[in-house]
C-alpha cells in the first residue's frame, strides 16, 4: 500500500492492454453512490475525446498508467453530474475542515493505492492543505522526481483526513447525488458553523443553509452577523427561509425579519406556521431597540397556586432555549405576573412544596423600556432574566442575559 498524490497522477500517459500510449490522465472520479472514498474510474484524454477507464482495469500507476483492457472498450466520459471529480471539485477549491473548524483551500489530494487481485484500488484518504502539496505542484516537472521526493520528505505534512472534509457544492441536485449532507458541519457548535459560513461567498452560504438541518440552521443563523443574515435569508426561497425562521428564537426571528424588506418578510411570514407567525408578528410591532423588541415569548410560566411538581412538569414540556429556563415565572388569573423562582430553588425543593412559599418578587420592565435601561437593570440587580409586563401587569415575555450581552456588543 502506498500514498499517491493526485497531482502526481494527472498528466501521466496512459497505455492500454496493447501497451501503446492512448492518452493522458485528466481526472479521477469517485462515485459516492457506490463507495464513499473509492475511485470509480479515471478520465483519459484520447484522440477520440475523453474516455472513462474503469478502476478495475488499472494495473499500475506512476509516470505511466497501465490498463488491462483495450482503449476501444472505454466508454466516453459523460460529465460531472453524478460523480465527484477530484481535480475539478477539490484541487484548488475551498472545503470545510470540520476538525479544524475553518474553510481551507486544497493544495493536493492524497490517495491510497492498494494492489488487489490483478488491479489497483485507489481510495481518497486526505486532502493536503499545507506547504508539501504546494511545493510539489510548484516544482513538479522542473526537478527530477527523486529530488522532489527527497525535498517533500523534509516538509512536515498538513493534511485533513477525508472524514473531516465537507465539500461545498452549490448545485442542490448534485449535492444530493454526491451525498453531501454536511454531517460533520452539523455536529459543530452553531457559533463555529457561523464563523465558517461568514467566510464563504454568498452562493456557498446559500448552499450550506439549504442543506443543513432546520434546527441547526436556525441556531447558526442566530449567531451570524446581521448583514450576512439578511443576505442569506434573501437568497433562500421563502419556503425554506420560513422553515428556518420558525426554529429560531422568536425575538431573534423578529429582529431578523425586521431587517428584511417588508415584501420579503411578508413572503416568509406567509409560509410560517400560524402559531410561530403570531408570536413573531407581535414582536415585530415593537421597536427593535426596546425591551419588547428584544424579549422572547418562549418562557416558563406556572400558575402560582401550583406546586414544585407542576413547575417541573412545565419545565419538561418546555422546548425553548435553555437560557430562558433560568427563572420560572408565576402567574395568577389573567396571566398576571405574581412572582418568580430561580431554577435552583425548584431543583432543591421537594415536589409537594407550594410555589407561593418559594416565590420572590419578579424584576420587571415595561415593553417600551429602551434597551439601554434594560441593560442597566441587568447590571444593577445582577439579573439572569428580566420579565416584560404590560400596563396591566400581564407577562408578555422575558429578556435573558445573553440577549443583553449581544445587545451591548452590537452597540
Amino acid at each position: 500500500m502506498s500514498v499517491v498524490a493526485l497531482s502526481e497522477m494527472l498528466g501521466a500517459s496512459v497505455r492500454d492492454a496493447s501497451g501503446s500510449v492512448c492518452g493522458r490522465l485528466r481526472e479521477a472520479a469517485v462515485s459516492p453512490q457506490e463507495h464513499a472514498t473509492r475511485v470509480a474510474f479515471l478520465v483519459v484524454r484520447t484522440a477520440e475525446g475523453d474516455r472513462m477507464l474503469p478502476a478495475e482495469a488499472v494495473k499500475s500507476l506512476g509516470a505511466t498508467v497501465r490498463a488491462t483492457t483495450a482503449a476501444s472498450t472505454w466508454h466516453p466520459f459523460l460529465g460531472f453530474d453524478g460523480v465527484l471529480l477530484l481535480k475539478r471539485d477539490l484541487l484548488d477549491q475551498q472545503i470545510i475542515d470540520v476538525h479544524g473548524r475553518k474553510v481551507v483551500r486544497v493544495n493536493d489530494v492524497e490517495l491510497y493505492s492498494n494492489p488487489t487481485d490483478s488491479h489497483l484500488t485507489l481510495d481518497v484518504v486526505a486532502v493536503d492543505v499545507g506547504a508539501r502539496g504546494a511545493v510539489r505542484r510548484l516544482v513538479m516537472g522542473l526537478v527530477p522526481s527523486f529530488t522532489l521526493r527527497a525535498l517533500l520528505e523534509k516538509i512536515p505534512p498538513r493534511v485533513i483526513p477525508w472524514q473531516y472534509v465537507d465539500l461545498i457544492e452549490i448545485d442542490p441536485a448534485r449535492r444530493v447525488k454526491l451525498k453531501i449532507a454536511y454531517e460533520g458541519l452539523s455536529k459543530m457548535h452553531p457559533a463555529d458553523i457561523a464563523d465558517i459560513v461568514e467566510d464563504l461567498p454568498p452562493a456557498e452560504q446559500k448552499a450550506v443553509f439549504e442543506a443543513l438541518d432546520e434546527e441547526v440552521a436556525a441556531e447558526t443563523l442566530e449567531e451570524i452577523d446581521p448583514e450576512v443574515q439578511v443576505s442569506i435569508l434573501e437568497s433562500l426561497d421563502s419556503d425554506r427561509a420560513a422553515d428556518i425562521v420558525e426554529e429560531m428564537d422568536p425575538d431573534a426571528a423578529a429582529d431578523l425579519l425586521g431587517d428584511l424588506t417588508e415584501k420579503r418578510s411578508d413572503e416568509i411570514l406567509k409560509e410560517m406556521e400560524p402559531d410561530e407567525r403570531r408570536e413573531v408578528t407581535q414582536l415585530l410591532e415593537f421597536g427593535e431597540h426596546t425591551a419588547a423588541g428584544r424579549m422572547t415569548t418562549e418562557f416558563v410560566a406556572v400558575d402560582d397556586a401550583g406546586t414544585v411538581a407542576d413547575a417541573v412538569e412545565a419545565l419538561r414540556q418546555f422546548d425553548g432555549s435553555s437560557e430562558a429556563v433560568a427563572t420560572v415565572y408565576l402567574t395568577s388569573a389573567g396571566n398576571r405576573l405574581s412572582g418568580a423562582i430561580p431554577l435552583v430553588r425548584i431543583a432543591i425543593s421537594p415536589p409537594d412544596m407550594r410555589l407561593q412559599s418559594l416565590s420572590e418578587k419578579a424584576s420587571t420592565c415595561a415593553p417600551d423600556t429602551p434597551e439601554k435601561e434594560v441593560a442597566e437593570l441587568f447590571d444593577k440587580y445582577n439579573l439572569i432574566t428580566l420579565a416584560v409586563a404590560d400596563e396591566h401587569g400581564r407577562l408578555s415575555g422575558i429578556i435573558t442575559a445573553d440577549d443583553v450581552i449581544s445587545m451591548l456588543r452590537n452597540g
Binding site: D92, V104, N107, V129, A134, R137, L138, S231
Partner: protein, 416 residues
C-alpha cells in the same frame, strides 16, 4: 412628478449604498506616480496629449467594470478565481509578481508622502515613520465601513487639483478642443518623446493591483448582483472623476510650465515647486497638499490589498477579523510591505529609481496576464451565468487588452 422624484430618490439611495469601491479605486490610481506622469505630460507637450484622456477613460471603465461585476456575481476575490480556474502554479507566480510590483508602488507612495511634506519643510525622518504608523493602525484598527468613509473623503480631496487647474488660468478653449482634434503639426506625432509619454500616460492608468483591490472591496462590501446596476455607476462615476482630475493636472502644467518652457520635472513634488513662481502660491500649496493626500491614500490601500490577494490566492488565512497568530502570513506580509516600503526612504543613497524601474517592468509583465485572466473569467458561463460579457463589451475589452499589451511592450522595450 412626485412619482418621478420618489423613483430618483430610490435610485440615489441605492447608489449611496454601494458607492465606494469603484470610486476609491479609480481615485487611488491618481497616485504619486500618476500625478508625476500627468505633470510631465502637460509640461512637455502642453495640451497635445489631452485627446488620449477619452480612450484611456473608456478602457479604464471597461476593465474596472469587469472586476466589479465578477465580485458581485461570484462573491469571490480575483485571486481566488484565478486560483480556482487556472491552478496553483500560475497563481503562485502571479502573486509573487504582484508582491514585487506592489512593493515598488508602496515605496513610490511613501516617497510621495516624504517629498510633499518636505516642500513644507518637514524632515522625512519624521514624516515617513509617522505616515507608516498611521497607515498600519488605520487599516488594522479600523473597520471596513469606517476606513471606507475615510477613503471616500480622501478621494474628495482630489478637488485640490481641479482648483489648482483653475488657478493656473489655462486657455479653456484650446484645452477643450485639444481633446477632440488631432494635435497640430506632424513633428509632434513623430517625436519619440511624445510617443513615449503617451505610453506612460496610458500605462499609469490601468494597473494590476487595482483589479484585485476593486473586486475584493466589492465582495467585502457585500454587493450582490441585484444591486449591481448601482455599483456599475460607482465605477463609471469614479473613473470619470479620476479622469477629470488627471485632465486638470495636465492642463495646469500645460498652461504654466509648458508656456514658460519648464519641461524638466523629476517628481510630482518637483512639479509643485515649479508651479510656485508661475501659477502662484495657492496653486503650489494645492499641488503639494494634493500630492500628500494622494500618496498617503495609496500607501494605505496597496499593502493591505496585496496581503489579501496573496493570502486568498495561496490559501493562507487572511482577514483583519483574525488575530495575529491565526493569520501570521497575512499580517507579516502587510507589515513588511509597509515597514520596508517606508524604511528604504530613510536609507541614504538607496537606489530607489532602479527599484522603481524594476517594479514598473514587473508591472508591465503582470498586467497582460491579469487582463487576459479577467477576460477569460468574465466569459466563463459556468462562473458568471447570464452575466458574461456581451459581444460589444468583449470587442472593446479585447481591443483594450491588446492595446495595453502593445503599449506596455513598447514601454518596456524603450525603457530597456
Amino acid at each position: 412628478m412626485e412619482a418621478l422624484l420618489k423613483q430618483w430618490r430610490t435610485r440615489i439611495v441605492l447608489f449611496l449604498a454601494v458607492v465606494g469601491p469603484g470610486f476609491i479605486t479609480a481615485n487611488v490610481d491618481n497616485d504619486a506616480g500618476g500625478i508625476w506622469t500627468y505633470s510631465v505630460a502637460g509640461a512637455q507637450f502642453g495640451y497635445t496629449l489631452l485627446w488620449a484622456m477619452i480612450p484611456t477613460t473608456i478602457a479604464l471603465v471597461v476593465v474596472q467594470e469587469m472586476a466589479s461585476r465578477m465580485g458581485a456575481v461570484t462573491g469571490k476575490g480575483l485571486s481566488d478565481l484565478i486560483r480556482e480556474e487556472f491552478g496553483f502554479r500560475v497563481t503562485f507566480w502571479l502573486m509573487l509578481a504582484l508582491v514585487i510590483t506592489n512593493f515598488g508602488n508602496v515605496m513610490a507612495e511613501f516617497a510621495g508622502v516624504a517629498s510633499s511634506l518636505e516642500l513644507f519643510g518637514v524632515s522625512r525622518y519624521i514624516v515617513v515613520p509617522v505616515a507608516a504608523a498611521v497607515v498600519w493602525l488605520l487599516v488594522v484598527k479600523g473597520t471596513y465601513d469606517s476606513v471606507e468613509k475615510i477613503f471616500l473623503v480622501a478621494s474628495g480631496f482630489y478637488v485640490c487639483y481641479i482648483v489648482a487647474g483653475v488657478l493656473a488660468h489655462p486657455d479653456w478653449r484650446a484645452a477643450t478642443f485639444a481633446m477632440v482634434t488631432r494635435p497640430e503639426g506632424t513633428d509632434v506625432i513623430n517625436n519619440y518623446g511624445y510617443v513615449y509619454m503617451l505610453v506612460g500616460l496610458v500605462g499609469t492608468t490601468i494597473a494590476p493591483w487595482m483589479q484585485f483591490y476593486l473586486q475584493a472591496s466589492v465582495v467585502e462590501k457585500g454587493v450582490t448582483i441585484r444591486q449591481y446596476s448601482a455599483s456599475r455607476w460607482d465605477v463609471i462615476v469614479g473613473c470619470l472623476f479620476a479622469a477629470i482630475v488627471a485632465w486638470f493636472i495636465i492642463v495646469a502644467c500645460a498652461a504654466t510650465l509648458h508656456t514658460a518652457g519648464v519641461t524638466h520635472i523629476m517628481s510630482a513634488a518637483d512639479a509643485a515647486q515649479a508651479l510656485r513662481p508661475l501659477a502662484g502660491e495657492y496653486a503650489y500649496l494645492l499641488f503639494a497638499a494634493g500630492l500628500f493626500n494622494a500618496s498617503l491614500f495609496a500607501a494605505s490601500i496597496l499593502p493591505i490589498s496585496t496581503a489579501y490577494a496573496v493570502c486568498e490566492g495561496l490559501g493562507f488565512e487572511s482577514g483583519l477579523d483574525k488575530k495575529f497568530h491565526e493569520a501570521p502570513v497575512f499580517y507579516w506580509l502587510y507589515t513588511v510591505l509597509i515597514v520596508a516600503g517606508a524604511g528604504v526612504l530613510l536609507v541614504p543613497n538607496f537606489p530607489l529609481p532602479h527599484i522603481m524601474v524594476l517594479s514598473q517592468v514587473v508591472n508591465g509583465v503582470v498586467l497582460p496576464f491579469v487582463l487576459i485572466f479577467m477576460l477569460l473569467l468574465t466569459n466563463d458561463r459556468e462562473l458568471m451565468g447570464t452575466h458574461v460579457n456581451s459581444l460589444l463589451f468583449n470587442v472593446i475589452a479585447w481591443v483594450t487588452v491588446v492595446t495595453m499589451i502593445g503599449l506596455t511592450i513598447t514601454m518596456l522595450v524603450t525603457q530597456g
